[in-house]
């Protein structure tokens, strides 16, 4: 029996189909990833699992009990790290942790001990007495995570927890996630950063426009683009004419433009350099760099949607 089971979940906001009939299972002890670009429906899915929104259709079962009509069945077992910083800026880190611990039923010595333990896990023990408004972005993110850990939840949901922070804090958060998972915590991790999901998740569902377009372990997903190459090209300038000409190369499968970069997937690598140089000289564009990458989850997304994950 899966720890969490999502069946044909739908959520509409007026005419917008934010989530349009998705299903997946989360097994006990795994780090399950929801990968997709902004607006794919990840946060809406997370909001429904965390009982904030009710779906228009479908069901979510925690240990085989529906949480749609019985949200309290999961609330105490769930730790939610929202995408935005959800803390009281005029209170100190300690006071914030104390409140969130209290909200989940912790009292007295037990609460003090957990604040101590959690502040060590998130590496913020020295700054606990400072007000949140004086914290850096990375520290706020860490305490935002800490607030969800106090009651030692069975499932930890993390919605884009590393958005807008420095690399050092980001690495600390990613290592913390792995550490928590090693101790047995089940984690649902959403991100539009492919490398984070690759680093953390055992199984991944890729979302786009409210649907799950692929699911499985990383190996299973990479099978989709087996034998294909992902090539990142940088030109001095990118014109519509250049894109049209690259698109006209018959063995190129997807072409996606992102800022000053063209990302494409192809099955054939033998003639690619020759053909690309020819096309660029036809349009008087100069190639600045060609980067051939091993297929990854971004290549899977590009292959399935024709768009880069960052779009």
């Amino acid at each position: 029996m899966a720890l969490l089971e999502v069946n044909n979940l739908k959520k509409y906001f007026k005419e917008v189909k934010a989530v349009d009939g998705i299903s997946f299972k989360v097994e006990r002890g795994e780090v399950f990833g929801l990968l997709g670009p902004n607006g794919a429906g990840k946060s809406t899915t997370i909001s429904m699992i965390s009982t904030l929104f009710k779906p228009n259709e479908g069901d979510i079962k925690y240990k085989n009990v529906s949480i749609i009509d019985n949200p309290s069945a999961i609330q105490q077992k769930l730790g939610v790290v929202p995408q935005e910083i959800a803390l009281y800026p005029t209170l100190s880190g300690y006071e914030n942790l104390k409140f969130w611990g209290h909200a989940y039923g912790l009292r007295g010595k037990e609460l003090s001990n957990r604040i101590e333990e959690v502040s060590e896990i998130i590496g913020i023990k020295d700054r606990l007495k400072d007000k949140i408004e004086k914290y850096s972005g990375g520290m706020k993110r860490r305490i935002n995570i800490g607030a969800a850990l106090l009651h030692n939840p069975e499932i930890l949901i993390m919605d884009e927890p590393t958005v807008g922070i420095d690399p050092q804090s980001r690495n600390h958060i990613l290592d913390t996630v792995l550490e928590l998972n090693k101790k047995g915590m089940t984690i649902i991790y959403t991100s539009h950063y492919m490398e984070e999901v690759e680093y953390l998740c055992t199984r991944v569902s890729i979302m786009d426009k409210g649907n799950i377009i692929a699911s499985g372990t990383q190996e299973e997903l990479l099978e989709i683009v087996k034998g294909k190459k992902k090539i990142n090209l940088r030109f001095d300038k990118i014109s519509d004419n250049l894109i049209d000409r690259i698109n006209s190369i018959d063995y190129i499968e997807n072409v996606d433009v992102h800022d000053d970069e063209i990302i494409l997937t192809t099955q054939n690598g033998e003639d690619i350099f020759k053909d690309l140089i020819a096309k660029s000289s036809e349009t008087e564009n100069s190639i600045l760099s060609i980067d051939i990458k091993k297929p990854n989850l971004e290549a899977v997304f590009l292959h399935l949607t024709g768009r880069a994950l960052r779009d």
């Binding site: 909001s47 209290h102 607030a147």
Partner: protein, 390 residues
């Protein structure tokens, strides 16, 4: 709910200066308004006598019998300047030809120089109208009397006229045509209406409403800090969030009203009468109503800034209607009086003053309290629906 109450108290402890500033400002404003309401201020009216006749002198003499204003003679240019500089409330111009007009049975015309229409100028117009009507009447009576006697006996017409005129004036002075006798029907032993007491009660209620509404408006800050959704996914229910916030806002409001009333007692000599329990009952009902009103307003808007923009409009207008700024007894407009009944302030003031000024017992606060509780429940149920539906 306990978590929410503890959180709000914790935040209050950290942000105590907001409560302190609000209370201090309320005290200062209550003092300013209370003190000005209690002063014996008499506006000055300048009189420009361009006619310089016996009759114009009679007008001036009649004016001086009226205590509503201080009157002094002035030149036209000087009067205009002083009115413009706000050194006089208005100036009365007795135009040339006053005596001639009266003698020729024509309507006398008097002018008023003013910079704005206000209660003083309106009162002055009424006084002038009354004085001139009375004076013209007296002159007619004296003239007819002198003419009649003059026909019968050959006596000096002017002498008879002056005697008759003075007699007519005397008659108005000492033998008023109507004598009003009044009996106050009160059950208690109150001191009666007192302007300072009314001002302190009115302004204390008015200013405390801001604290209460902004205290419950903290719910909107929960949304700004994104903590609202985070609490909603915790085991704390929506009802507990609202309940906790309502309880703390109620306590904050009640403590502030209490401080303002106690300060009123010791700083301005506010006398709340002998039935303190009755006053407390009305205050509890009032604070509950305003807390619920704050919840309702918080449900109407999306952000704390919107609440900050809406609150002064609602609170000031309802406080004016409800009699916080002036006693409703001086209001004659029936529409305004009818509208005052739908403001919580009117009922709170009525309940508290029935004890403080008119010495009534608990019976005097039953209806105001019930009306306040009714309003509070209406605001509460609508407010809960609005806040929950978001």
């Amino acid at each position: 709910m306990l978590s929410i109450i503890m959180l709000r108290l914790q935040r209050l402890k950290v942000e105590y200066y907001v409560f302190l500033v609000m209370t201090l400002m309320s005290l200062i404003f209550t003092f300013i308004f209370g003190a000005t309401q209690n002063q014996d201020y008499t506006p000055t009216i300048l009189v420009v006598d361009e006619d310089n006749s016996d009759y114009s002198k009679k007008v001036f003499s009649e004016l001086q019998d009226n205590n509503a204003f201080k009157y002094s003679i002035s030149e036209y240019d000087d009067a205009v300047k002083k009115v413009q500089d706000d050194k006089a409330a208005a100036a009365l111009v007795i135009n040339k030809g006053l005596q001639e007009n009266i003698e020729n049975n024509q309507k006398p015309v008097l002018g008023i120089i003013k910079t704005k229409e206000n209660i003083d100028t309106m009162t002055l117009e009424n006084i002038i109208s009354s004085i001139t009507s009375k004076m013209v009447g007296n002159i007619r009576i004296a003239s007819i009397t002198a003419d009649f006697i003059n026909q019968e006996k050959n006596i000096d017409h002017n002498k008879i006229f002056n005697e008759a005129y003075n007699k007519a004036v005397e008659t108005w002075k000492y033998k008023k045509p109507i004598e009003i006798s009044s009996t106050r029907l009160v059950e208690g032993n109150g001191t009666g209406y007192d302007n300072l007491t009314h001002s302190i009660i009115g302004f204390a209620l008015f200013f405390s409403m801001y604290t209460i509404v902004f205290a419950i408006g903290e719910i909107l800050n929960e949304k700004k800090y994104n903590t609202w959704n985070r609490i909603l996914v915790s085991p704390i229910s929506k009802n507990a969030i609202l309940g906790g916030n309502l309880i703390v806002s109620f306590l904050v409001g009640f403590v502030q009203v209490g401080i303002l009333f106690i300060a009123g007692k010791y700083l301005f000599g506010l006398n709340l009468g002998s039935n303190l329990l009755g006053v407390i009952i009305v205050l509890i009902a009032f604070v509950f109503t305003i807390t619920s009103m704050g919840l309702f307003l918080s449900g109407l808007v999306k952000t704390h800034s919107q609440l900050a923009a809406l609150t002064p409009v609602i609170l000031t207008s309802t406080s004016m209607l409800g009699g916080c700024m002036w006693p409703l007894d001086i209001v004659e407009n029936k529409i305004i009086l009818a509208l005052s009944n739908i403001t919580p302030q009117k009922w709170a003031i009525e309940g508290i003053e029935s004890i403080a000024m008119y010495g009534k017992g608990i019976n005097g606060v039953i209806i105001p309290t019930l009306v306040l509780l009714g309003m509070g429940l209406l605001f509460f149920s609508t407010g809960v629906k609005l806040v929950k539906s978001e």
